[in-house]
């Protein structure tokens, strides 16, 4: 059994250790905030760049299949830790090409129409903010929202709703 004598120097060392751990935790929280959680004094996110003319998420020459959608919890626009790993592939693909990325946000049907358009957009923008924190170039990333329209699964059950709460990725040529 190790007995630590709490001499002043030990106390100081212990306090420093605790302070450093707390700072590390705070650092992790800051990262969570960046991914779209709430803070009370928000002034502005990162402005969107001008749209690319003549191409949009549903255009025929946009690649929407390469990367899996990111899925969201009910009523939430936070990028969940379990989904965030998908964004590494998004960054790599974006950096490997010269086009833009369009993130399209969607919701399930359990909200009113106009609120859902806003929620879908907020999801797309949360993903975009997360991509920026991973070093992606914000001037090449657009967002759009279809709200509860264009569901991945038109059924009215939990499984379908979970598939509909998503952000999809479209890479322009």
């Amino acid at each position: 059994m190790l007995h630590l004598r709490l001499t002043p120097i030990t106390r100081l060392f212990g306090t420093a250790l605790i302070a450093l751990s707390l700072a590390a935790c705070a650092g992790a929280n800051k990262k969570k905030q960046y991914a779209g959680s709430e803070d009370g004094d928000f002034v502005s996110g990162s402005s969107l760049p001008e749209r690319q003319e003549g191409v949009s998420f549903l255009s025929g020459n946009v690649d929407r299949q390469s990367v899996s959608p990111v899925y969201f919890a009910f009523d939430s626009y936070e990028v969940e830790p379990g989904e965030a790993y998908k964004l590494d592939a998004v960054v790599r693909k974006l950096q490997g090409g010269s086009g833009q990325l369009i993130i399209a946000g969607f919701t399930d049907e359990r909200g009113t129409w106009e609120y859902n358009r806003g929620l879908g957009e907020r999801r797309a923008q949360a993903v975009r903010a997360h991509l920026l924190s991973l070093g992606a170039d914000g001037s090449r990333i657009q967002t759009t929202s279809f709200g509860a329209d264009m569901p991945a699964d038109p059924a009215s059950n939990e499984a379908a709703w979970a598939k509909n709460r998503r952000a999809e990725f479209g890479f322009t040529p």
Partner: protein, 390 residues
């Protein structure tokens, strides 16, 4: 019986208005308390289109909620008229046979009937009438979401957009002459305006990101809407041509569904600030938003009544939505139980008494005073997001 005597005494004590071509009452000639309805006899309008005019008139007067339509031939308020050569001459006489209203109406048969009904309502109750107002909504009849317009009673349904895309969130200017909507023709949600007379359409709000939820200021000069160009969906005001964009809100949440106060000074909207969406009001010049204490947790799609006194909105309850009305003076909120548990997007009519909303796929009107429901439209696929002019 007592009620009839009291009504007769009230009528006798009022000055009889002289028969003039136009009668506009500044104050009610009959005072109606909330629970009373006015006994009104509707005698059939004679003449070529008389049958159609009478039928539209009867429906308007019934929907208005103020009247108890009785059979004629007894002393009391009586509506009568004749129809000839595209002109309806309409008259309302009172207990003593004196003329309360006498006027001529032009336009097509439905327009004439609506104009006459509106005058009857306004003359006898002092309140604005619904007849003559126009509605717009989204319907999936064609397999795609398109914008449609109609008369407030569900007649004259016309498909306005033929975008073959997603056309949603319609809003009518107060005068019913212009419509704003959200379209995806460029693959992004942008706000378009349409001059309904000419059909001319312009894409007016087209910032990067999503632009949606446009509603007209009461004087028709500006639009409030949601714009996400800053990296977040925020409330904006722009001119009706899309210029002079002014950002009103600064939160990291979703701002949506702005609705103007009737004096154009304030906007009520829904914002979620990381939690469930709640209602807020903000000056149209910007500044600090103030919560509207509705008493409910998930509240969206607010609509400010034309008389400025109430805000109708949706609240989510269980798996569905209810319509509720918040009274600004008293701070009380009441849910409209006869609207059911699947009711979405309530919008006020010009009388600040009736609301339109969708119940499942159908468009329904409700009298917020009596709870009486009337299905206005069905059979158009799924109807959503109604709008109503003044």
């Amino acid at each position: 019986m007592l009620r009839k005597i009291l009504l007769a005494l009230t009528l006798l004590s009022l000055p009889v208005l002289p028969p003039v071509a136009q009668v506009r009452a500044e104050t009610p000639t009959i005072t109606v308390s909330k629970s009373d309805s006015i006994a009104l006899a509707l005698t059939p309008i004679s003449g070529s289109e008389g049958e159609l005019v009478t039928s539209v008139l009867r429906n308007d007067l019934s929907l208005a909620g103020y009247f108890n339509l009785v059979s004629g031939g007894q002393p009391g308020l009586t509506v009568s008229g004749s129809d000839s050569g595209g002109v309806t001459s309409g008259r309302v006489t009172d207990f003593s046979g004196g003329t309360v209203l006498q006027r001529q109406y032009r336009g097509d048969a439905r327009q004439r009937a609506h104009a006459f009904a509106r005058d009857i309502i306004e003359t006898l109750t002092g309140n604005p009438g619904l007849p003559g107002s126009r509605i717009a909504f989204v319907a999936t009849r064609t397999g795609r979401k398109e914008i449609y317009t109609a008369d407030y009673d569900g007649s004259n349904v016309r498909q306005l957009t033929h975008d073959g895309n997603i056309s949603v969130a319609p809003a009518l200017s107060a005068d019913g002459r212009r419509l704003a909507y959200t379209g995806y023709l460029k693959g992004y949600a942008d706000i378009y305006t349409i001059e309904l007379g000419s059909g001319a359409r312009r894409r007016v709000v087209k910032f990067p990101g999503t632009n949606s939820g446009a509603t007209w200021s009461p004087d028709g000069s500006r639009l409030a809407c949601t714009v996400s160009r800053d990296g977040n969906p925020e409330l904006y005001i722009v001119s009706a041509s899309g210029s002079g964009a002014q950002r009103l809100t600064h939160t990291s949440g979703v701002e949506s569904s702005p609705s103007w106060s009737p004096d154009g000074q304030e906007i009520v909207y829904a914002a979620d600030n990381g939690g469930a969406p709640r209602l807020y009001r903000i000056s149209a010049n910007g500044g600090r938003p103030r919560p509207v204490a509705s008493g409910y947790r998930f509240t969206t799609e607010p609509d400010w009544s034309p008389d400025g006194k109430k805000i109708a909105f949706n609240l989510r309850e269980g798996g569905g939505f209810r319509v509720a009305v918040h009274d600004l003076a008293s701070g009380q909120t009441q849910t409209l139980s006869s609207a059911g548990s699947n009711a979405q997007n309530p919008v006020w009519g010009p009388d600040s008494r009736h609301l339109l909303f969708t119940d499942g796929p159908n468009l329904v009107m409700i009298d917020s005073r009596t709870g009486r429901r009337t299905t206005i439209l069905d059979g158009l696929g799924a109807i959503s997001e109604p709008a109503w002019s003044r």
